[in-house]
Amino acid sequence: MRVERHCVINADRDTVWKIVGDPDAYPSFMTSLERWESADDKPPGVGSRYTVHWKIGSVPVGGLIEVVEFDDLRDLAWVGITGVTLRGRIRLRDAGEGRTKVTFRLSYQAPGGIWGYIADRVAVRQVGRTTASTLKRLKALVESND
């Protein structure tokens, strides 16, 4: 399943990246987050790992993730190492004078064949709400700091 939501924030890319480029700040705007902890002592960047869980349905879902793309002012992407197969990306692009378009993508695939597919389909609405709400909170956070 792939879920994508986007929003336009009234701030330049530098300002948005200050928050998006610092995964330690994610608990301050990510919705349904139960756990976001650094799993190593590396500074944010390619190769840094985090233990992440979102409350989806009855229990926390997630696992160990690793940042695989850390492109200043543009993209931050990660993949799941344990737990459900997961890819995430936050993408920043210019949206006119002093504005930034932020795209948040989550692709995931539960194991377990047909049951995994059904679970993915059942979860997709909640994951969609979570990504939309995350962007809303990010926008509020950035614009209040700006």
Partner: protein, 277 residues
């Protein structure tokens, strides 16, 4: 009377010989991972479960998780908590659950051993903790799980506190796990301890109860040995702060039960209706 005694001893040995020896290697993380979606669907859609404060469980090392038990022979609290633990810590973290001899020796339930379920006895428990695993135990066992539904929010281990000695000897913390809702999956009427004694099931099968309940699809359900279809009661589970094993057994046991009862009361206070939650 001598021959009756011989028959009972023979039957006891037959049952005991069918209880599989604990083999921790039977736990299969890949199998568990493949089963997580179906348990997640069941937990999220059917039981609308809610598991909180898993962060209170030490992130690594052996730990004894002590829960109150509900739901007869189809206890939803066990599989919901197992799902939550495996989702939170990953299937890679070794995690075992103790279960009644009859559960682990029943051929149709052989798959439980892949989840890490082993027969409930002190030797298996020690083995699991010494291997560095997390271990889930329900000291109340078959006594607590068949309490009448109107005592659904009462933590009652029936005086069993062997788990405290186990934690002390293994040098591990105890983390209480409180849950509510399981006793609303059927209408449990009576533990039937008198029936177990009458039929010698307490001596032959280690069954202290032959419970009587009203449950789907049987209607009147005696013994619950064949299980039942649980009503879709909302299951709520709260993991509590670890309890240090630093007093005598009774003092630690009292602390654990008080913590569990407080948790159960808290969770019960949030319920507005039986089953619906």
């Amino acid at each position: 009377m001598g021959s009756l005694g011989d028959v009972m001893e023979w039957a006891r040995k037959q049952v005991a010989s069918r209880v599989p020896k604990a083999d921790l290697d039977q736990r299969d993380p890949d199998y568990i991972r493949d089963q997580l979606p179906v348990t997640w669907l069941l937990a999220s859609l059917y039981f609308r479960a809610d598991v909180t404060h898993l962060d209170r469980i030490p992130a690594e090392g052996p730990v004894l998780l002590v829960g109150n038990h509900s739901g007869g022979n189809v206890p939803p609290d066990t599989f919901v908590f197992t799902l939550a633990f495996c989702s939170y810590f990953g299937v890679e973290r070794p995690f075992y659950q103790l279960a009644h001899n009859l559960v682990v020796s029943a051929p149709p339930l052989g798959w439980l051993r892949k989840f890490g379920t082993v027969a409930a006895n002190p030797e298996n428990a020690r083995l699991a903790l010494e291997s560095g695993a997390a271990l889930l135990v329900y000291p109340g066992g078959d006594y607590e799980v068949f309490r009448p539904s109107w005592e659904g929010h009462k933590v009652d281990f029936g005086g069993r506190m062997g788990y405290v000695r186990l934690a002390r000897e293994a040098g591990v913390p105890i983390v209480p796990v409180a849950s509510v809702g399981g006793q609303e999956t059927a209408l449990f009427l009576n533990r039937g301890q008198w029936l177990a004694k009458l039929l010698f099931a307490d001596k032959l099968l280690r069954l202290k109860s032959i419970p009587i309940s009203l449950a789907l699809p049987w209607g009147l359900n005696i013994s619950d040995l064949a299980g039942h279809i649980p009503l879709p009661a909302k299951i709520a589970i709260e993991v509590q702060e670890p309890v240090d094993v630093d007093g005598d057994d009774q003092a630690v046991h009292d602390k654990v039960v008080a913590s569990l009862q407080a948790g159960v009361d808290r969770l019960a206070a949030r319920r507005r209706f039986p089953v619906i939650g």
